[in-house]
């Protein structure tokens, strides 16, 4: 793991790192990977196993509440709001 690879991962995770931070993270992650890599040598014959028998239990579909009653409480947390919309920067750029 070097600082270039850390930089690539950071970009995927939408994080901005200083050169200094990328260098120290590369070192720390290298040492953590050194430790966790021990599992590569554990014998497993459980390919594709289920982690647990526990599955999501979902409620029956339906109308959970009257439309609009939570709108203000939720939009109250939005950093950039325009009327009842969340405002973000332009995503599609014109040529």
């Amino acid at each position: 793991m070097d600082k270039t690879e850390v930089g690539k991962l950071a970009n995927l995770a939408r994080l901005e790192l200083s050169l200094e931070e990328a260098e120290s993270l590369a070192q720390e992650i290298e040492s953590i990977l050194g430790y966790i890599s021990e599992i590569k040598d554990v014998a497993t014959d459980t390919k594709g196993c289920e982690v647990t028998a526990h599955r999501n239990i979902v409620r029956e579909d339906g109308i959970p509440h009257e439309s609009g009653i939570h709108t203000e409480a939720i939009l109250g947390n939005v950093p950039n709001r325009e009327r009842d919309f969340i405002k973000v920067k332009r995503i599609i750029q014109h040529e």
Partner: protein
């Protein structure tokens, strides 16, 4: 007479007998918080409406309409949301966030009559074992302020241990309830995965996270657990448990797992606890958990993988901190600069183990070893009722002592298996050890099969002399 260290059960009895009012109890808690918390830093906020809540409780008590927790102040780790109040998860990225709803555990506490006392400090997004990684400063150990209270529920454990509140809720992903309970000399329960609703818990590792109680006695821990557990339609991973009342007679001790890395004094306290159980008629059996030694490696793959996924939602668009960048993507990056170092480290690590080319070698392999490790426990529980280990390999460490992240991670060795297997585990005080002239508490941990919390309470009661 001082009500400082009354248990929940004792305080409830006094409230019922009118020897104490909820207002008096809450005033006392506020007084202790004022006297101690500027030094400890257990609370991020003590609510300014606690007196009003206490008045309402007194009315209920007078009218004979009291619930099991009426008048009892309970603190909440600040990754559990409450309607109309801030929730920070110990992070700057949730700056300005006000929750539009109550977590299900909050709804249940309110229904039982509890007074919601305040929000307690934690490592940012519950990522840490010392509460040093909170964006709002570290919490200190009430037994020795030069030492950490443990983490990530360090604020909740310190609040209970210092006598500010009789009980608190925390969350446990790899030991975050049990380890601080051990360091602070109180009881901490990580319930069975899925037994307590996580609706309103700010997620870290979704196949590991669970909410649980911290208190000073086993009875109080049991009472809080019974109040918050149960299937919730708002959490699709919650389940109704089939709790059984079975007699607990056989204790398994994985000696091979304790051979290296455990502090001598901690081991002596552990052996004394096991001896006490033997004196009380328990049979002590040596057991093998051959895959337990891989638990930490598995955990530090699965947890960051899930955490990096869960933390993708903090992008400055819908809530929390926003910083403007050159374009949409840059907005995300500038906003996410509010994450602290440990959080960034785990996001990068999680992104790595999930990325193409490494997924099979790390994440898939880890889920396979996780299954084998769980099998080890399931198999062992055919022979014993509970499995005992120390909660932590050492007593509370000093601030900055574990500055290398890997050395901090290694302190979770005994607590992560219960999260990986989903099994319930409790930390019970096992005595004191001397460090630099100060007596520090340490804990013994018991693990039981899924939904067998009852066994943990029964063995805990024996140890705590009830």
């Amino acid at each position: 007479m001082s009500n400082e260290l009354l248990s929940i059960v004792e305080a409830r009895a006094k409230l019922d007998r009118k020897e104490l009012s909820a207002t008096e109890l809450v005033d006392q808690c506020v007084k202790i918080a004022k006297a101690k918390d500027h030094e400890l830093g257990a609370f991020l906020e003590v609510f300014d409406d606690v007196s009003e809540q206490a008045k309402a409780a007194d009315t209920q008590l007078t009218n004979g309409k009291a619930g099991v927790l009426t008048g009892i102040p309970i603190a909440l780790k600040d990754n559990i949301v409450q309607q109309g109040r801030s929730a920070t998860a110990g992070s700057r990225i949730l700056e300005g966030f006000v929750s539009p709803y109550d977590a299900t555990v909050v709804t249940k506490l309110k229904k039982a009559g509890a007074i919601l006392f305040g929000r307690t400090n934690l490592d940012e997004f519950a990522m840490g074992s010392s509460t040093e990684h909170s964006a709002f400063g570290a919490t200190k150990n009430p037994h020795d302020v030069t030492r950490v209270p443990g983490g990530s529920s360090g604020g909740s454990a310190a609040a209970v241990a210092s006598g500010i509140v009789p009980g608190a809720l925390g969350s446990d992903t790899g030991g975050s309830i049990r380890q601080p309970a051990s360091f602070c000399g109180v009881v901490g329960l990580k319930p069975t995965y899925g037994s307590v609703s996580r609706h309103g818990l700010i997620a870290m590792g979704s196949s590991l996270d669970v909410i649980g109680p911290i208190a000073r006695t086993i009875e109080d821990t049991e009472l809080l657990f019974n109040t918050i557990c149960g299937r919730d339609a708002l959490d699709s991973t919650s389940r109704e448990g089939k709790y059984e009342q079975t007699s607990t007679r056989r204790v398994g001790v994985p000696r091979h797992f304790l051979e290296s890395g455990v502090d001598e004094d901690v081991l002596a306290r552990f052996d004394a606890s096991i001896e006490k159980l033997r004196e009380n008629g328990y049979e002590v059996v040596d057991v093998e958990l051959p895959r337990a030694k891989h638990a930490l490696a598995v955990y530090y793959i699965i947890m960051p993988a899930e955490a990096s996924t869960n933390l993708a939602r903090y992008d400055g668009v819908r809530f929390g901190h926003y910083a403007s960048g050159a374009d949409g993507i840059d907005d995300y990056k500038k906003s996410r600069a509010a994450f602290g170092t440990e959080v960034r480290r785990r996001i990068i690590l999680g992104t790595y183990v999930l990325s193409a080319g490494y997924y099979d070698a790390y994440y898939n392999k880890a889920t396979e070893v996780r299954k084998l490790l769980t099998d080890d426990f399931t198999e062992t529980f055919k022979r014993v009722d509970v499995i005992a280990t120390p909660t932590t390999p050492t007593p509370a460490f000093t601030f900055g002592e574990k500055s290398d992240p890997l050395s901090m991670y290694l302190t979770d060795i005994f607590t992560v298996p219960a999260n990986l297997s989903g099994m319930p585990a409790i930390s019970v005080p096992s005595g004191l050890v001397m460090r630099d002239g100060v007596e520090l508490p340490v804990g013994v941990q018991f693990t039981a099969p899924h939904f067998q919390e009852e066994r943990l309470f029964s063995v805990g009661k024996v140890l705590m002399g009830v």
